[in-house]
Amino acid sequence: MTSETLSLATRPLWPATKDVLLISIERMLPRPRSFWVFLLLSLPVAFGALLRIYPPPGLPLTGFELYGMVIALFFVRNLLPLVALLFGSALISDAVDSKTLTYFLTRPISRLSIFLGEFLAYLVTVLTLTVPCVVVTYLVLCAATPQGAGFGAPDLVQDLAACALTLFTYGAVFALLGVSLKRPLIPGLLFLFVWEGFVANFPGDAPNYTLTAYARSLIRHRPAEEGLAELFSKFFGVGESVLVLGFVGVVSLALAIWIFSRREYVISS
């Protein structure tokens, strides 16, 4: 078989990507890992419900302010990058373990289609787990308060977009880590909690080199920082943050695809 006939036999990009996406979602979503991540993402809902049922006397925060703290500190700063690390870094290794990669590689589909399908499946999975939790957290904390559920409705939509962009960017970065390293989890955790956790609050231009500084800048109603973070925290314009996060995500994704399409995978039987 010549190379010309091989290239003719390869399926077009989008139909092949769609097939990979549908198969990969089945592998990613109804799994114990997704269940535990969903439980973790649901914690603010339980916390909000408790707070509404047993409100502490003299709580100096409105429901919307509490929601702002949850979205900025719990979701965008800590949990979503962690979720991206868990799912993104295992994007290809899970496919290897479950033998779906063997199946894909033996079919007439390009490696670009395989990676894009896997990445889209990651996005659909994490958004399916995250978006309802953010919306229900908002409703639990804001509905039937003096401000009402309607007050922050535009902010809720912006926050969902910020969550999606955060998951896209971190997911692409960790997917790159996943295809580059054999054990990406430890370097990923170090990146999240040492680099992103500390450098983002350093004085000067250091926060410019972290993703979290841009991600937190997308939350318009973020709570005021305290202590050293108040003195040094740097925030960027929304347009600049979207551009930087989008650029880093696309470049990481392109690099990950490039590495994946050149890498040899030894599939054990």
Partner: protein
């Protein structure tokens, strides 16, 4: 349908329902609803405001009353509007729709309190925050501000803030959107902007909300006040008012056409105090009637005031016709001329 699709559809349905509910609450629910005469955009005014008052400037400047008595030196001239015109260059009749003023009680600072010249302890002035809606934008406002009032400009979170540049005062004007501005001292304006971002404001003060909701819809002018300012007012006025029982809260509102009408309800500590306040007001009305021999109009004013009590509340109603105000104005003019020794028609001759 397989498991993954069911999960995705469930998540999408929950999210879509939640977002739809939030936006429908925004359109129809409490988030957008005004509190009494306070427009939704002004709900970020401080919750600890002691007095909140307002004018429907369009109704005021479009009224027959304003046409007759709104000129310079006339009884219908509203000094607050004249002040806005002086500071911002905005013409009330052309550019302004409504004004809401929130007055916060100033916390007393013993170090900065003014010295007691006459033995009476003086308080620092209250923080007034003025909320204006109308037809103006940043370019128009900048062009309108007089040269003497030029200010430094700052842009923050989509809000243009002008601060007094000479350093003589700490006044600030924030232009929120086209047609909405907030003016006051810097701290009060910053409080308003912080409230606007966090959803705090007047709604957090249930007592104030209840007072505002009792203002009659469509009133041209209105004011509500809590005890922190009212008790100070009665104690500082001196004379018979100083002996008045403390007033817990007041709601007042009124209209200008076809006659000037005003309704006020004051709540005292108990029914006995309410009766005492009503008696003082009735005594004042009786004094006006006694002077009817010198000025016939005073008897008409006395007749137009009605005072009634209901438990711990005192209701006061007054209705004054435009003709009566006109004749009071004329008699006041002739009184001034008599004192100056000018013949009644001398001005016209000159």
């Amino acid at each position: 349908m397989n498991r993954s699709r069911r999960l995705i559809l469930t998540a999408a349905a929950v999210s879509a329902l939640g977002i739809t509910f939030s936006f429908s609450a925004r359109v129809t629910g409490t988030a957008r609803a005004a509190v009494g005469p306070v427009p939704p955009e002004a709900l970020a005014l401080p919750a600890d405001s002691a007095v909140v008052m307002g004018f429907d400037v369009r109704a005021l400047t479009g009224s027959q009353f304003y046409a007759k008595f709104g000129g310079e030196g006339e009884p219908g001239r509203v000094e607050a509007l004249a002040e806005i015109e002086r500071k911002t260059g905005l013409n009330p009749a052309r550019d302004i729709d409504s004004v809401v003023v929130a007055v916060r009680p100033q916390t007393e600072d013993p170090k900065s309190a003014e010295p007691a010249l006459d033995g009476v302890r003086r308080h620092r002035p209250e923080n007034a925050l003025v909320f204006v809606t109308g037809r103006f934008d940043a370019a128009r406002l900048e062009a309108s501000i007089p040269e003497t009032g030029k200010a430094s400009k700052e842009r923050r979170d989509g809000v243009t803030i002008y601060r007094e540049a000479s350093g003589k005062s700490n006044g600030a004007v924030a232009l929120l959107d086209a047609g909405i501005l907030v003016a006051g001292d810097t701290a009060s304006v910053d409080t308003f902007l912080a409230n606007r971002a966090s959803g705090r404001g007047i709604r957090d003060n249930a007592a104030l909300v209840s007072l505002l909701e009792s203002v009659e819809p469509g009133s041209t002018f209105w004011a509500v006040g809590g005890p922190s300012v009212l008790s100070r007012v009665t104690s500082e006025i001196g004379g018979p008012a100083a002996n008045l029982p403390a007033i817990k809260q007041v709601v007042a509102y009124g209209h200008l056409d076809p006659e000037v009408g005003m309704t006020a309800t004051a709540e005292a500590a108990d029914a006995k105090s309410a009766t005492k306040i009503a008696d003082v007001l009735r005594g004042f009305s009786a004094l006006l009637s006694l002077q009817a021999g010198q000025k016939a109009e005073l008897a008409q004013i006395a007749d137009s005031i009605s005072v009634a009590t209901e438990d711990d509340k005192v209701h006061v109603k007054a209705t004054i016709t435009h003709e009566l105000i006109d004749s009071l104005k004329k008699s006041a003019g002739s009184h001034v001329r008599t004192h100056k020794g000018v013949a009644p028609d001398e001005n016209e001759i000159q």
